[in-house]
Symmetry: C2
Subunit: 97 residues, 2 copies
Amino acid sequence: MKLEASGWKIGSVDEFLELSQEETEFIELKLSLSQNLKERRQSLRLTQKDFARMIHSSQSRVAKMEAGDPAVSIDLLVKSLLALKTSKKEVAGMLPH
Amino acid sequence: MKLEASGWKIGSVDEFLELSQEETEFIELKLSLSQNLKERRQSLRLTQKDFARMIHSSQSRVAKMEAGDPAVSIDLLVKSLLALKTSKKEVAGMLPH
DNA sequence: TGAATATATGTCGAAAATGACATGTATTCA
DNA sequence: TGAATACATGTCATTTTCGACATATATTCA
């Protein structure tokens, strides 16, 4: 999984070139939601633009969500999934490895 | 479940006194994480103050997290749970109804 | 091919979330 | 009881995330 390529910071103040287990799990969790969101949108034959209108957001933000951009919150990802009629159980199913 | 008591807005511009299914599910999801976080912290015999230090936050913010304050993000709740060595599978188990 | 459509990326001011602090209220226990 | 400890609540300046926009790059398809 190319975390580096998604713009996730690799270096930090405390650790140089190393992500803590906790940080890694957090990022993986978000990427799982991102990927599932993209799959769901596509399987519904929605364009990013149309989906953006559904959630009162913008095409560029949808693209960032799906790209796993670090500057997108889990809150927005979850709200987006719920807007696609994803059940809580389905959201839960996206989390475990 | 007393959503109103937790400070969640009941009225909005579009709908007066009614939460959409989507909004309700989002709030319930957050409250589940809140409650589980509180239980986990308590079972580990950690004070809010001590836990706050662990996650580089403050006692007041921990209190707000556990109270289900709307102004607390899922991101912070998830990071907090992960700091308590909660596995992704365990987080997933908190979500379904 | 090339126009139309779809997606990716960078930037901005506005809005929301943050840690910190002060202070109020419960709870504990000697 | 009352002091000590734990938790709740309100506010504030700073940081982060937001929708929006411009524009670059991919993809589709006639």
